[in-house]
């Protein structure tokens, strides 16, 4: 068997450029899979750690797809505070900004800058530690703050505003006191300001807020509290750590499925590439395969050799995919700001998938080779 494997291995180096093209065909598909999955895993890691730091519960309108579009009565603040285990209820308001520094802001619904208005005293509260951890210059909002904002690094760079500079948002001017770094969990486009400043300068529905941030007592069960809120008020949606996690997981599952689907298509293309290469190789070696049969090789011996050749091609392709994929994943991750994860499981999956492609791609050419007539060996050239 080792000898057959050795022949198979030597055979892939006969037509170097064709083998290299085949390696690449396999590598591209696997590379794509590696990059996509490493991103999904990276996003998952960051989301888990961010959500893990979130101690509170976000309460918003049941029917709203996002907090930004949610609108609920201010009056719930009182009602929510009375629920057992609730330490504090922080009203939150969002507002899409149309003008910064007297210039209209463009962008779609997803990257348009918005104001996130909150009670500065409550922001200071450790419950916002996840946000505070993201601060990379200056400080977060503090009790008694007014006329100040925290902005994302992107906004800071776009409008060239550093700490202490004044930023005009709509018609009002604010001093920048903190800059935070956006990542997969924090928006790239938020302007965080004290709620009083917000209400003074921007229109909002009287008696309405977008959402509440409910902070439980130390030791209280957040999941229990969110269940109680949803049970008591049909019109409200309560999302604690657990619910957020579920939401993120289902989103990531979809991403993962998309990644696998895209990769399957490229794997299919790779398999066709292998079949093509192997068929050509088998056809070129008609005489040689006939000779092997004439001197006593069985069909099985030949099938084994050709499938091994195909698997060797795909293993080399997998190794290339692993190297190039890791480089692309890390570079792209660095540019986008996601720490991508290339786990041992993923490496194993890439190899298993690659070998599978080689096996499947090798079957047809191998069977064809095994049926080669030994008489071919004696035919004149």
């Amino acid at each position: 068997m080792f000898e057959i494997a050795k022949s198979a291995f030597l055979n892939i180096f006969r037509r170097k450029s064709r083998s290299i093209l085949t390696f690449l065909g396999i590598a591209i598909g696997l590379c794509l899979l590696l990059v996509l999955i490493s991103f999904v895993d990276g996003i998952n890691n960051e989301a888990q750690s961010t959500i893990g730091k979130m101690q509170g519960i976000i309460v918003s309108q049941e029917s709203a797809v996002d907090q930004v579009f949610s609108s609920i009565d201010e009056g719930y603040e009182q009602k929510l505070s009375k629920i057992q285990g609730v330490k504090e209820v922080v009203p939150e308001q969002y507002y899409f900004v149309t003008e910064i520094q007297n210039k209209a802001v463009g962008g779609s619904m997803f990257d348009q800058p918005y104001i996130y208005a909150i009670d500065p005293g409550q922001f200071e509260n450790s419950s916002y530690s996840a946000f505070i951890d993201a601060i990379y210059k200056g400080r977060g909002l503090k009790s008694g703050d007014n006329g100040v904002v925290m902005i994302s690094k992107d906004i800071s760079e776009q409008y060239l505003k550093g700490l202490g500079d004044s930023l005009k948002v709509g018609s009002a001017k604010f001093e920048v006191i903190g800059i935070y770094e956006a990542n997969s969990s924090f928006p790239v486009n938020a302007i965080i300001m004290p709620v009083d400043d917000f209400r003074e300068n921007y229109p909002y529905k009287k008696g309405k807020v977008n959402s509440f941030y409910v902070i439980p007592d130390a030791g209280a069960d957040a999941t229990q509290i969110s269940k109680k809120i949803e049970f008591s008020y049909d019109e409200l949606k309560a999302q604690g750590q657990e619910e957020m996690m579920e939401q993120v997981n289902s989103l990531l599952l979809n991403l993962r499925l998309i990644a696998v689907f895209v990769s399957l298509i490229s794997a299919f293309v790779a398999a066709i590439g292998i079949i093509n290469t192997m068929l050509m190789s088998v056809m070129e070696r008609t005489r040689e395969l006939g000779t092997l049969k004439a001197v006593g090789w069985t069909k099985k011996n030949i099938i084994f050799m050709i499938i091994l050749e195909s698997v060797f091609l795909s293993i080399v392709g997998s190794i290339i995919a692993l190297i190039i994929g890791t480089i692309i994943s890390k570079l792209l991750g660095f540019v986008i700001g996601i720490d991508t994860v290339i786990s041992l499981t993923l490496i194993f999956e890439i190899f298993a998938f690659g070998i599978f492609i080689g096996l499947v791609g090798g079957i047809y050419p191998a069977v064809k080779a095994s049926k080669m007539d030994p008489v071919e060996a004696l035919r004149d050239e």
Binding site: E3, A294, V295, G296, W297, N301, D373, L378
Partner: protein, 230 residues
């Protein structure tokens, strides 16, 4: 019924091919016997059916009708697997264009027929001594492309002998060689018959080889037209 000294026996062998709507008989009722330790030559012009006969006698192909016995074994009763195993142990092949594997060196090429059984040291030693016997021991690690035609044919003869078969089939073994090199291959064949008691079935259209044959069959239009020798 099968006489022991007839190592190969062919009875009324017919081989026909269907070409479109007509049936062509490549062999049209050929019967012959091959005795052990003889050199048999099959001569005939191209298209006479001599190659087809070699394929059938060498258990590479089945006759359409008729029977072939090799060492008393009826070839038509063997399935693909048994035929492969049978060829491996009892038959050796020497081809006109040598058919060596270009990626393998001389020693590895000689060992090809042993690969299905797994390589072992004994076989490697045998391969080395066979290569010595054919005068190729100084080129064990060379690739076929680095050898001359005569050298390649020597390697292919060593390959045919590696499993110590009793019968060796050769299709124009000197066809691609110059006269001098061809003669050295003929000498090697004679030596193998005399010392190792090997049987040779050789297809050729080179009349100068016939003087070494124990028996000559002339083939014309799928039939034996003349037999010379005992």
């Amino acid at each position: 019924m099968i006489m022991v000294e007839n190592i190969i026996q062919a009875k009324d062998v017919v081989k026909s091919y269907v070409l479109g709507e007509t049936t062509v008989n490549a062999l049209n009722g050929v019967s012959l016997d091959v005795k052990k330790s003889q050199i048999i030559m099959i001569l005939g012009p191209s298209g006479s059916g001599k190659s087809t006969l070699l394929h059938i006698l060498g258990a590479l192909d089945h006759p359409t009708t008729g029977d072939v016995y090799i060492k008393g074994k009826k070839i038509s009763e063997l399935d693909d697997f048994s035929l492969a195993v049978f060829r491996r142990y009892y038959l050796g092949f020497v081809f006109q264009s040598f058919n060596l594997i270009p990626t393998l060196n001389v020693l590895e090429n000689v060992l090809i027929p042993t690969i299905p059984d797994g390589k072992n040291e004994e076989k490697t030693q045998r391969a080395i001594s066979l290569l010595k016997a054919v005068g190729m021991s100084h080129r064990l690690k060379h690739k076929p492309a680095e050898l001359s035609g005569g050298e390649r044919q020597r390697v292919s003869i060593a390959r045919a002998l590696i499993n110590d078969p009793e019968i060796i089939f050769a299709d124009e073994p000197t066809g691609n060689l110059d006269t001098k090199t061809g003669q050295s291959i003929v000498d090697l064949i004679l030596k193998l018959r005399d010392k190792e008691k090997k049987t040779f079935v050789i297809v050729t259209h080179d009349p100068s080889l016939t003087k070494y044959a124990d028996k000559i069959y002339h083939i014309r239009d799928g039939k034996i037209s003349d037999i010379k020798g005992k």
